[in-house]
Amino acid sequence: MRKENNNSKIELKTALEHGISSNEWKKIKRHLGRTPNFTELGIFSAMWNEHCSYKSSKIHLKRFPTKSERVLQGPGENAGVIDVGDNIGVAFKMESHNHPSYIEPFQGAATGVGGILRDIFTMGARPIVLLDSIHFGDANHEKTKFFSSSVVSGISSYGNCIGVPTIGGETKFHSTYNGNILVNVMCAGLLRCDKIFRGNASGYGNPVIYVGAKTGRDGIHGASMASSGFEDSTSEQRPTVQVGDPFKEKLLLEACLELMNSDVIIGIQDMGAAGLTSSSVEMASRSETGILLELDGVPCREPRMNPYEMMLSESQERMLLVAKKGKEKKVHEIFSKWDLETQIIGEVTNDKKLKILFNNEEVTNLPINFLTDEAPIYKREMSKTRKLELPDPIEGLDENDNLGESLLMLLNHPNHGNKEPIWEQYDHMVQTNTIIKPGEDASVTRIKGSNKALAFTVDSNARYCKLDPYNGALFTIIESARNLSCKGAEPIALTNCLNFGNPENPKVMREFSDVVDGMSKACSELEIPVVSGNVSLYNETHGNDIYPTPVIGMVGLIENHFLTVPQGFRNLGDKIFLISPSEEIPLLNNTPHELAWIKTGVEGGETPISTLSSAKSVNSTCQDAVKKGLINSAHDLGEGGLALALAESTLSSQSSSLGPIVRLPKSCAGRVDSILFGETCSRIIVSLDAEHVSSLNEISEKNNVLLTEIGIVGEKYTIYSDRSSPIIDFEIEKIINAWENSLKGFF
């Protein structure tokens, strides 16, 4: 607990301890014409830190395309909203909870879920799905199992209790996250397009109401913690851990949605990081008003809490709302029905200031716009763009290695093994809409009361982004769009979480900028706007920055939910085709990155890309084929290339006795291992009944993509090259056995 009170004179040293730089400190004193008191300093530290102000990233994020005919709300609100027709809107966003999850993985992950849920229902949307992107250290690192199992139980305990299905996600292990795990959670909800709520504090004299859990000393300095790197001893940060209460959140969710249906509130916002401070300031800022808070009314969990602590507490499951004057009673009634207490703690004012009273004393008086619009923005130094000139990892692979063994090795690796132990712990079926379950390229949820369905995917590819940030980011967006297309969904918008190292390192800032450029380019050409997102910087330990890890969460629209397909093979005798770009694929791009990394630990070579126009054509071809009901399965080729994709379509098959019998096309040149495991952008394998082949051909020609017949669905996993004896020939069992238990003990 902080000993200073509001009368002690604040020195630069204290400001520095609060993460306020000496220049910022000067700026504050100059603008105010005085030295801020301790509570005010706390408020600055919260508002001006990286987490709230985006001071290092803001100038870059402006480059994202954020508009389309469907976008009803772009970045800047609690969540973005898109219009999917019939007055149905989808609100969605992704949030990181990396640092809290490293300190206490169960609670950190759980409260991460809580935070993103609140962002969604404050928009007036009922949350319909959660997805998680989780990155852990090397699978053999001593702490990895502790982190992976705790994070998954944390997500599961919170999401399951609330009753929002976790329908998808991604899980990766890599040594770059040994000292800094990533926990990103995405949530989407449904609302009526004509009833979007925003975090506004308008109407002078309207009451400001506090609702939800009591305020404790949780996470004081949590927001600042999230913005500074880790040192060895996390023990000093321990008392700030926040414990989540999913039950209270469920009550808040139901009460808020009921409230929003009753025409009594103006605006509502979650007290997330930097709690009461950021919620009140941001609401006033959006409406260009002021707020007067009387902190004596704040419900406190602990005795003798002072204004500084109340303003900075990060206790979970709390909301701030502005109601219409005279409707306080109605607000109170609705919340009490849900066993929640409300407390009026202030009002909207017209002086554009944040004023705070405590014990009849004014403890804060700060101009709102100085806290928000005039918060520092940095154009951080960047090193020159430089592709890492690393050797192509195929050089380390022995051409004569047994190819079957290589496949089994991939299947047995935690990054590709069976993820069921994770998603079986998540209630992925509640709300009875999940029509494509986790374990696929994308998951699909239907919208009751309409024919529509939504497809969701989260993807990242840190290795490609490390090797080549611009193209890595481009690749990731293309991959997400392709994942959705495999379900027959049209990609319509995305959210993202940009997980990077220390922005004060010019190399990191260069990576950041290039990733933003790559994303922007892909988004504008594919016409997929960015509608919300989150930036997590200072992901580093001992000066080692993590690989740049932009995580993309993309939403796709399916007009007829009966027309979507799984990734697993369905019928014996179906033909297997490969859809790929018509442009010539340089052999160089066919690098078996994942296999090389698993076998030799080497990462290098080129990040695979395709032109955006050919990516679009491949995606459209698949979408059209699904929409016309031509194909029975579709699966994206990603890490591990063709061989792994075929294995996944085998493993996902309901029947557990169907597998590919494939002959590598003559047109494939180069080393066989590179053809089997090489990672080329924009390829999809589909299976279909012979009678639909000609129709598929027509679509492919129309879209100008290459359609290659590679085999049929049989009862084994068999691959031939040009010789008469197969190069891989496995019973399905063998594939299953290698894959099934590779994550034993991790979750």
């Binding site: 399951n160 009753g163 469920k250 509640v430 009875t432 009966f562």
Partner: protein, 230 residues
């Protein structure tokens, strides 16, 4: 004649049950808030799944103190049908409307997946639309579904034919590998001695449409309905 879905703070399968009855079974259904007390005599009560009161203390423990529980007890004691699904089963066990108790899964983990259950007799109120020993496919989604009771109670359950569903494999064999949570004797659902109160861990309301993987769940609701109307 219709269904009433009880809503506790923290229920989260209430909407799903409502949807299943209203749109798939196409029968009348309404919600009853846990703070209310009136149940119509001819209503079939469903206590849905979820985490009533966060499942704090013990799953279902706090819910049993809600006002509606008195009315449910009365309803049950008058021989009218009550179905507790998942958390609803836990609440019924806590309220002594059903014997035994549901403790943590033997894996200590929450499990959500499709499983098979076998209906032990087609004579009960809730299985009269099924064949004897019919095997049904249905999801489970729980962390505390491990049915436990004392030996003498288990004997009573068997003797009185109160075991309505057991976890089985797809062919109907009651084997250990088909038991997802460690329940005694693979028990997935039981009734009270009179047979009008059913508790089961699997979620029939999630298995009422082909697009979600099957319609077996409807049979439980329609059995209860045909009993009530007869």
């Amino acid at each position: 004649m219709g269904f009433a879905v009880i809503v506790f703070p923290g229920s989260n399968c209430d909407h799903d049950c409502f949807h299943a009855i209203c749109n798939l079974l196409e029968k009348p259904v309404r919600y009853i808030w846990h703070g209310d007390t009136s149940i119509e005599k001819n209503e079939i009560v469903i206590i849905p799944g979820g985490f009533s009161y966060g499942d704090y203390l013990r799953a279902g423990a706090i819910a049993k103190t809600s006002p509606i529980m008195k009315s449910i007890k009365k309803h049950a004691n008058e021989g009218r049908p009550v179905i507790g699904i998942c958390n609803g089963f836990q609440i019924l066990a806590e309220s002594d409307l059903l014997p035994g108790t549901l403790i943590r899964n033997s894996s200590l983990k929450f499990i959500c997946k499709n499983i098979w259950i076998r209906c032990e007799s087609s004579h009960s109120i809730f299985t009269n639309k099924m064949k004897n020993k019919e095997v049904l496919k249905m999801p489970i989604a729980h962390g505390e579904g491990n049915f436990f009771c004392k030996k003498n109670i288990l004997e009573d359950l068997e003797y009185n034919q109160q075991i309505i569903f057991r976890y089985s494999d797809s062919s109907g064999s009651i084997v250990k590998s088909a038991n997802p949570n460690g329940s005694l004797k693979n028990i997935a659902g039981i009734s009270n001695k009179e047979g009008n109160v059913l508790g089961l861990m699997p979620h029939p309301e999630r298995a009422c449409e082909s697009i979600l993987g099957g319609k077996d769940g409807l049979k439980i609701f329609s059995s209860a309905l045909s009993y009530s109307t007869s």
